[in-house]
């Protein structure tokens, strides 16, 4: 089981790095999917099979499908890949990269200083999760449902084609590039 954790951790980090350096949106999405599957395997090893399944169903299923539909609707062509190549010269990413490296080293130092403990991988069953979810965290469930409703209404409002692009407020002020 240890080997499964280490291998999938390596796959997750590698696939995630491939996401942020991807030029093509669909290639980035496929790498993100690999990363999510690896993290889901880690969840399974850590004794959270319910969350592993949810990760695949919601992240790997629903959210990825949303992304893919948007990429299809935007109809991005090879021009975007060239544009991405122009947008990512080394001098742009080297600064934030070094700063983030400093942050992760600090974070690692803070984590490693704490006393270590082992994760036995004892399984927390979906039954226990459900009891906690609808018992102690019932208010959280209500908040989540309200959040989803707000997301639904917001996405519907933003998604409707109310203003034609050439008549939008930006175009009327003559600033549309």
């Amino acid at each position: 089981m240890n080997a499964v954790f280490y291998i999938s951790a390596g796959v997750a980090v590698l696939a995630t790095v491939m996401v942020i350096v991807a030029k093509n949106a669909i290639h980035g999405l496929l790498s993100l999917l690999v990363s999510l599957l690896a993290v889901s395997l880690i969840f399974y090893v850590m004794g959270a099979p319910f969350i592993a399944a949810l990760e695949i169903i919601i992240y790997g299923g629903a959210i990825m499908v949303l992304f893919i539909f948007v990429v299809m609707l935007l109809n991005l062509g090879p021009a975007m890949v060239d544009q991405e190549r122009q947008w990512l010269p080394a001098r742009i990413w080297i600064g934030p990269g070094i700063l983030a490296l400093v942050l992760v080293v600090e974070m690692g130092y803070v984590i490693v200083r704490r006393p270590n403990a082992g994760i036995s991988g004892s399984v927390v069953t979906p039954q226990e999760v459900g009891l906690a979810l609808f018992g102690l965290y019932l208010l959280g469930v209500e908040l989540a449902s309200m959040l989803l409703l707000v997301g639904l209404v917001g996405a519907y409002y933003l998604g409707q084609r109310r203003i034609p692009p050439e008549k939008g407020p930006v175009a009327q002020r003559g600033r549309l590039p």
Binding site: V13, T16, I20, I51, A100, S120, G121, L158, V170
Partner: protein, 102 residues
């Protein structure tokens, strides 16, 4: 089952989070910025699962379910905004949206 040190799980979560952070900072394509935010939310969920597994409690997994909800709502609104953005500016460059001069 063999034990996994809790440090490694937390370090993996921190590493994934920082990779997502670099993505948000570096990319100009708004679609990739959204993907990087998803990576960061996922890393936070991983940290919660590691914490929950350490003590064998279900609370960590409950928090991951709430994070999943937040991610789903965020991505729905965010992608609708991306569509509007592309309709207005004919581009996915996040720097185009500097109308407010913030």
């Amino acid at each position: 089952m063999a034990t996994i040190p809790i440090h490694y799980g937390l370090l993996l979560a921190a590493l994934l989070f920082v990779v997502g952070l670099v993505g948000v900072l570096v990319r100009r394509n708004i679609l990739f910025i959204l993907m990087s935010i998803e990576i960061m939310l996922n890393a936070a969920g991983l940290a919660f699962v590691v914490g929950g597994a350490r003590w064998g409690r279900a609370d960590g997994q409950v928090m991951v379910i709430i994070i999943l909800t937040v991610a789903a709502a965020e991505v729905a609104v965010g992608l609708a905004l991306v569509l509007r953005f592309h309709g207005w500016f004919k581009s996915l460059d996040a720097d185009r949206a500097s109308e407010m001069r913030g």
